[in-house]
């Protein structure tokens, strides 16, 4: 045995784990699958809004107007009372930030060992907000910072379901009753009322209300996104009328109308290449995304294209940078955070902050920030744009997240460890 090379000893060991032929019970059940398992409806029709009945105008009668002066006075008093009531309620309601632009920094949400936590960055105290036997992960904040959407799986059950909870973990609402497979990503609409999720090998696009109602699958198929990171859909600022998506197994970027499912192709990858990680600028005018030429080495570059698909151009990268991808806009839209590599793999990865849309070298972290990365990390700006939070995907996951000062490039590890995407709560300034 010891005459074998280490690799051959690994092969021998793996062969010993081989359980042999499939048991007959499995064979029987597997061949019954196409007869016993109902395939999902290929398309669910988009919800249609039925034309509402238009009330016919009531004819004025001779009893109106001057003879109802007393009623008018009563109505005016009621209106004044109503306005005062609304003002009182509005005054006591929590202030929320606008969905785009700079905001104050709130808590960071993260997942660890299947539970969700938030950490107060002022006190440094972490608090479990969603716990239990289920595996909950990848919390994403609504843009007003009041709620979180996250995915949940249960041991022994296939797929995952999306849930929404308040910022403190209370009021958990099921959003997708049927389990979803291969979830590529999800996001709140700007007003927080809807959630879009892309799932399945064919890239099914589902929109649901964040109160758990109104689930509908858009009448489109995008051919899916093959990466677990960088395929998150997002609503277009400021009103969420459109959604940008990766599809065609990372060969195309699509923009789909969130109401009528009309689709337009925003960008097409070169033969053998791909596209990934599209991000709207905060004003909704531009989209930054990554595009690569070959799957054999990392050649990804950041592109910026107008929202109508015109003017696609490569963001300038500094000399020596072999790839320069996964761009994320700052909240004020003046800068991009980019993961950059000075080798064909992940040997010398840095995080760079460059001005947008000029590009260039900008401010770079030291390569040690990433510590043997195995993938390009997801990154998120602090709501006030002073720093950046990222989750390095290193060999020994789960790992600590990393804060990067956006002005100096200095980095520091978080006290908490997680493999979930960075999620930073926006608060009213």
């Amino acid at each position: 045995m010891t005459d074998l090379s280490p690799d051959d000893r690994i092969r021998t060991w793996l062969l010993a784990r081989d359980p042999g032929e499939a048991p007959e019970t499995l064979r029987t059940s597997v061949t019954r699958v196409p007869y016993d398992v109902r395939r999902p409806a290929i398309a669910r029709l988009a919800e249609r809004r039925l034309p509402s009945a238009v009330p016919s105008a009531s004819p004025l009668t001779r009893f109106a107007a001057w003879r109802s002066l007393g009623a008018v006075v009563v109505l005016a008093l009621l209106l004044i009372g109503l306005v005062l009531g609304v003002l009182l309620v509005a005054g006591s309601a929590p202030r929320v930030p606008p969905p785009f632009g700079r905001a104050a920094n709130g808590n960071v949400a993260y997942a660890a060992e299947g539970d969700l936590y938030t950490v107060d960055l002022v006190t440094g105290r972490s608090q479990a907000i969603v716990t239990g036997p289920e595996t909950d992960t990848d919390p994403v904040w609504s843009l007003d910072g009041s709620r979180l959407v996250f995915r949940r799986s249960i041991v022994g059950e296939p797929g995952e379901r999306l849930f929404v909870a308040r910022a403190d973990g209370s009021g958990i609402v099921l959003i997708t009753p049927e389990p979803l497979s291969s979830i590529a990503g999800y996001a709140f609409s700007p007003d927080g009322r809807r959630i879009v999720v892309v799932s399945g090998l064919t890239g099914d696009v589902t929109i649901a209300n964040s109160d758990g109602t109104g689930l509908r699958t858009l009448d489109v198929s995008f051919g899916g996104c093959v990466f677990a990171n960088g395929c998150e859909p997002s609503f277009r600022p400021p009103d969420g009328a459109e959604i940008v998506l990766v599809g065609g197994a990372n060969s195309r970027l699509y923009v789909v109308d969130a109401t009528d499912s009309r689709v337009r192709i925003l960008a097409v990858a070169p033969e053998g290449g791909g596209v990934i990680a599209p991000r709207w600028s905060p004003d909704g005018a531009l989209i930054a995304y990554g595009r690569w030429q070959s799957a054999r080495a990392l050649t990804i570059q950041t592109h910026i294209v107008a929202a109508d698909g015109t003017g696609d151009r490569v963001l300038e990268a500094p000399p020596g940078a072999m790839w320069n991808g996964r761009p994320v806009w700052s909240n004020d839209g003046t800068r991009l955070a980019i993961v950059r590599g000075y080798g064909p793999g992940h040997e010398r990865d840095v995080l760079a902050v460059v001005s947008a849309p000029a590009g260039g070298r900008g401010i770079e972290t030291a390569p040690s920030v990433f510590d043997q990365p195995i993938d390009i990390p997801p990154i998120e700006w602090a709501p006030d744009d002073t720093s950046i939070l990222l989750t390095p995907f290193t060999a020994g996951r789960p790992d600590h997240q990393v804060f990067v000062d956006a002005l100096t490039g200095r980095a520091s590890r978080t006290p908490w460890a997680t493999d979930s995407r960075p999620a930073w709560q926006r608060l009213a300034p």
Partner: protein
């Protein structure tokens, strides 16, 4: 469903024919899939569940498969995903520690192989799910780096990095290589 960005003219199979075609393909690839799941998961019962999950998932998306000749690679990708999900969920499952008491092997297995097995069992358990998949697909399924990238949905550079880290750890567990020492 409106299909976007795909070539037209694809042949639609009638429902009954499609069921029969799928059942035949699934049956044909079952053994290989179950064995691969078994090696990845190290548990035959869990391998049965993962294989069955993958078949159900494949059937649900069978309509999206454009080229039946690509069935094996396509199905392997689904299976690998199913196994990865199970490996990740294990973090939430109760773990029963089994005392490592090497039994005297039967059938001529020598002590070195028992040592190897125990060492590799332990080292493999320290790898994350993605590294385990890379190791099994490379050294058991004999896939190339590019094929592993296709099955796991990550760039080839990422696969290389995962393999490098994982094999280093496994080699370390095996101790000094006597071949190299000669």
């Amino acid at each position: 469903m409106r299909s976007v960005g795909t070539s037209g003219g694809e042949r639609e199979l009638a429902g009954a024919d499609q069921r029969a075609a799928f059942a035949q393909l699934a049956d044909h690839h079952l053994d290989r899939a179950y064995r691969l799941a078994g090696v990845i998961l190290g548990d035959s019962f869990e391998a049965e569940d993962a294989t069955h999950d993958a078949v159900v998932m494949a059937w649900r998306h069978f309509g999206s498969l454009r080229d039946p000749a690509r069935f094996e690679a396509w199905f392997q990708r689904i299976l690998v995903n199913a196994c990865r999900d199970r490996l990740r969920r294990r973090r939430r499952s109760p773990v029963v520690e089994i005392e490592a008491t090497p039994e005297r092997p039967a059938g001529g297995e020598d002590f070195d192989s028992v040592d190897d097995r125990l060492a590799l069992d332990r080292a493999f358990a320290t790898l994350n799910p993605d590294q385990r998949l890379a190791v099994v697909l490379r050294f058991y399924a004999d896939l190339t780096v590019e094929e592993i990238a296709d099955r796991t949905g990550v760039p080839a550079g990422t696969v290389k990095s995962r393999l490098h880290t994982a094999t280093q750890r496994l080699h370390h567990a095996l101790g000094p290589n006597p071949e190299a020492a000669r």
